[in-house]
Symmetry: C2
Subunit: 139 residues, 2 copies
């Protein structure tokens, strides 16, 4: 395993609309993608492009959304996770299994349409870490 590129920083928000306004008005974001629902993960998602990575704004979707608790503790939102790319998701999963790092749930399709999984923050220095297979066109 070799540390891959940071695909995105996940930022939880109670309102994508409000966060998009903030990124446009106070950060100078010019490319904001259309928001979409990701029911498998219980979130609504909106990507904001920076020159070298993306900010993934995530808003709760449904009553069982995994970010509801985060927003209870951080009502204004905040940094939620870091997503790093790997070449091969199955290889990465086997690697983390072998290291005894807790993997949160099955490998599933993430916001970019490629397989992802999450690692337990308690095994990753307090950082909820998403591991994502690089989109093919980036190879």
């Amino acid at each position: 395993m070799k540390l891959g590129r940071l695909n995105h920083v996940g930022v939880a928000t109670p309102s994508i609309d409000r966060s998009v306004a903030l990124y446009r008005d106070k950060m100078g974001a010019t490319t904001v993608h259309d928001p979409f629902d990701l029911p498998a993960q219980g979130v609504r998602v909106c990507f904001v492009d920076a020159p070298n990575m993306q900010v993934e704004l995530i808003e709760p979707l449904g009553e069982g959304s995994p970010i509801l608790k985060f927003l209870e503790r951080n009502p204004e939102g905040g940094q939620h996770h870091l997503c790093f790319e790997v070449d091969d998701i199955d290889e990465a999963r086997a690697f983390y299994d072998s290291k005894g790092v807790r993997i949160l749930g099955p490998t599933r399709i993430g916001a970019h349409g490629t397989p992802i999984f999450f690692l337990h923050p308690k095994d990753m220095g307090g950082v909820l870490t998403e591991i994502m297979e690089s989109p093919r066109q980036a190879h």
Copy 2:
């Protein structure tokens, strides 16, 4: 103002040594820079390179370290701030002043030797945001 590149993600840790071991062993980091003290900010700093940005590991330095409170709430560490680059720090400061965004303290020299300042997380969607003038060689 135009959204610049993400220079680094600041990750607080009770132990840079332990975090460096984690980034090497569990993330596959190969380039880890020498740690150094940044007394002006009350932190000891260590940069870990990813292909498109850096992770800035920060450990408390001194009794007045601004990350001690963060570590009380998050004993294992965690995501602390996001640092975005701008071309001109004075222009950026005037911009945030004009927007009514609270700036935390004076402009000072940051871990990369260029001027930086921090924005209040309550004005930035819960994200402690560092604004950093791009290193000259990157222009």
